[in-house]
Amino acid sequence: KHSRMSYNFKQIAKIPSATELMDITLSKTQRKTPTMVAAGFKITRIRKFYMRKVKFMQSSINERLQAVIDSFPKLNDIHPFYADLMNVLYDRDHYKLALGHINKAKNINDNIATDYVRLLKYADSLYRCKQLKRAALGRMCTLIKKLKSSLSYLEEVRKHLGRLPNIDPNLRTLILTGFPNVGKSSFLNNISKANVDVQPYAFTTQSLFVGHTDYKYSNWQVIDTPGLLDHQLDQRNTIEMQAITALAHLNACVLFLLDISENCGYTIEQQISLFNNIKPLFQAKPLVIVLSKIDVCKFPELKEDIQKQIQTMAKETNAYLIQMSNISGDGINDVKAKACDILLDHRLTQKAKDPKKAESIMSKLHVSEPKKRDNKVRDIAIPQTVIQGAKKTGPTIKELQEEYGGAGKFYIPEEEHYLLENEDWRYDKWPEFYLGKNVADYYDPEIEAKLNALEEEEAQVLREEAEKEEMAGESSEDEGGISTADLKGSLAGVMKKVRRKRADHMLKSATRARSKIKHLDDVTEALEAKGIDVNKESLAQRVKNPRRIGELEEAQEKKAKRELGLDSDSDDDSDSVMSDDDMKKKEGEERGRSRKTREQKKKKTTLLGKRRAEHDHEMISDDDAIPVEVRGSMGKTKRTMTVSQRKISAKKNIRDRTASRREGTAPQRLEYKPVPEEQVRLAKKINSIWKHKVQRSEADREVNVKRPKHLYSGKQGRGKKDWR
């Protein structure tokens, strides 16, 4: 609560002087309120205008004065140390009076404003209003002028307050006291980063100085005070009073510095008497009596009774006696440590005594002890080599390594450290893998026993199997005396044959197709055998001979010609209308080629054909049957001509054709009649049979082997068969 106040002193705003304040408020009123007013305005408007001015002035003055009052700390609200210090420095009464004066001025200001506003209400002209306003503002200004001294005093206070050392009353503090020139400031300089003036004359330090140090990982304040002289409290001046204030109000460790060498200009007795004088100030505080300047004079060198006096002094107040020297540096740390320690203890005991605080701390603490998980005694285990203090002799492994070729080349012998039952085993090499397994996975002290058990199991199983074999006698596999393996074998043979047959069947389908062709005689016989009446004539009509498309078309042509009256049956030369092929035939005949009939040709080749030929002649009746033009196997007589002869005939053909056309003697082309679909299909089917007979080559885009062995058999390590 109190600690926060110490930081606000520097934040107090500058306090304007009386004249400044006057100027500020007046100019503000001028700027911030409307400026234009004329006599011709309504009186209410004029009044309002001037009232506003008065009120504005009032409010701005009040604002300022209020700010001044607020910015200064209330002596009752701040830490008593600061309150006292301010009293010492600035006189409490004067301070309070100044602030009171300002407060009062505020009230008076308000009164002025209200009075003149009231008057302005009844002002009847611009002039009157203006005068009133002038009067009001004037009075306010004189009021401010009267504040001059207070304001200037407060400004001084503010300046000084800002420069006060930042002492935190609740922080761990050490206070240095003693006579002037005893070594307090130099001690502070030694301990902290402070750089306080150290001079041989008294009252070098005229105010409190703060230094900061660390001890046990926390911050400490060290306060250097002005030296105290040995006289009554009421006789003390402001400077000394500051020291007294600090001693009185701050809960800190007091370091009373005693100059043994008497270089400060005061005897030890005087110092002791001062000590006794201010003893009541540090009743409840931890105290350290520091014997300073021991570099000049050492404690044992003193007279005995003085020594005794000092010791009794310490004893009475339960203080610690420590010696130190600022110049040489002896004992400074001891002093600091001691002082800090006792202060910490003091603070702790204080905190412990406070029941609330103690409780709050205790409730946060918890001491946990690990639970024992078993009754095993876990003793301290110190290796023998450590107890014996054994030292290694010889080169270290590192040195050896460097000697023998460095890291990587040199094998660090780890086998030396193995703890083995038998020394012979030390440099054994044993395999890491065996039969695709890790040897370490099998390495087991009980492996022998386990293996024996396994062997027994296996033996047992084998025995059972043997018994089963005997009992079974004839194996159930052999039903009917034939084993499944035999059956499989025979099946393999069977399937081979079957496949062969199927393949042959496919290949022979052409011949079969033809062999399927039945002759009319056979058909009639078969039907009559079954007892069906046969109409031979109708059957004869339906007899179909395999023909070429070209043939069929020509047959149609011939028929058409006949109908037209052009007889193509006769072979005389006098025929004017002839088809091109007829022409060719004629040519061929003229050249002496014999026109073999189809039947004649067939007679040579197959017996079947022969039969057919004979039948053909018998079957066909002149009236109904379509005359089959007799020609070679492909309908052309190319086989009988040589290449050159063929060329000649072709050329001739063309010449004749065009000539005859030109002359108009060429036989007219007849209307094309499409071949019935059935016959076309049949012809195509017959043609397709030839495909199988044609030999294949690489250009024929077909896969010969549907199931290559290397893809359809064998195991595959990785990957599928379609791409491996």
Binding site: G436, P445, L454, S490, V494
Partner: protein, 151 residues
């Protein structure tokens, strides 16, 4: 150390495959990128036919056998003893033999379960093409079977 591929249970020899250390400090070894990628795709090896995990889960492999207990990862090392090492290596060989024999037995048992059906299938096939059978004894046998079936 020869590790087992986590996915397909193949042997991962030193210098092969990939080891994956997960955040919970569990190690996964893979024999190939195939297994690694399948693992990353969160595939369950028990559902992929070609893995040992599938085979074990579907009773096609020998499991829970005493001969399999010899090989186990030992976390507590046993002190080296030459005699024990010799015995171990000898035992390894014997254990492998026994293991193979048991595996074969397991396989046979599995296959014999369908012995009858397989025989029947062969007979049916033969019945279709009785005439092609060369061996007279078998031919007669099949013929009889066919007659039986017709009845």
């Amino acid at each position: 150390r020869i590790e087992k591929c986590y996915f397909c249970s193949k042997n991962v020899f030193p210098g092969h495959g990939i080891a994956f250390a997960r955040n919970d400090a569990k190690l996964f070894f893979f024999c190939s990128s195939k297994c690694n990628k399948l693992f990353k795709a969160k595939k369950n090896p028990r559902k992929l036919r070609w893995t040992k995990a599938y085979r074990a889960a579907h009773g096609k492999e020998l499991i829970n056998d005493s001969s399999l207990e010899f090989e186990q990862r030992r976390n507590i090392p046993t002190r080296y003893n030459r005699d024990l090492m010799v015995k171990t290596i000898q035992a390894m060989k014997r254990v492998e033999e026994i293991k193979e024999a048991r595996k074969m037995r397991h396989f046979k048992k599995r296959m014999d379960a369908h012995k009858d059906k397989k025989r029947q299938d062969v007979e049916n096939e033969l019945m279709k093409h009785v005439d092609f059978i060369e061996d007279p004894k078998i031919k007669e046998y099949i013929r009889q079977k066919k007659e039986q079936k017709a009845q």
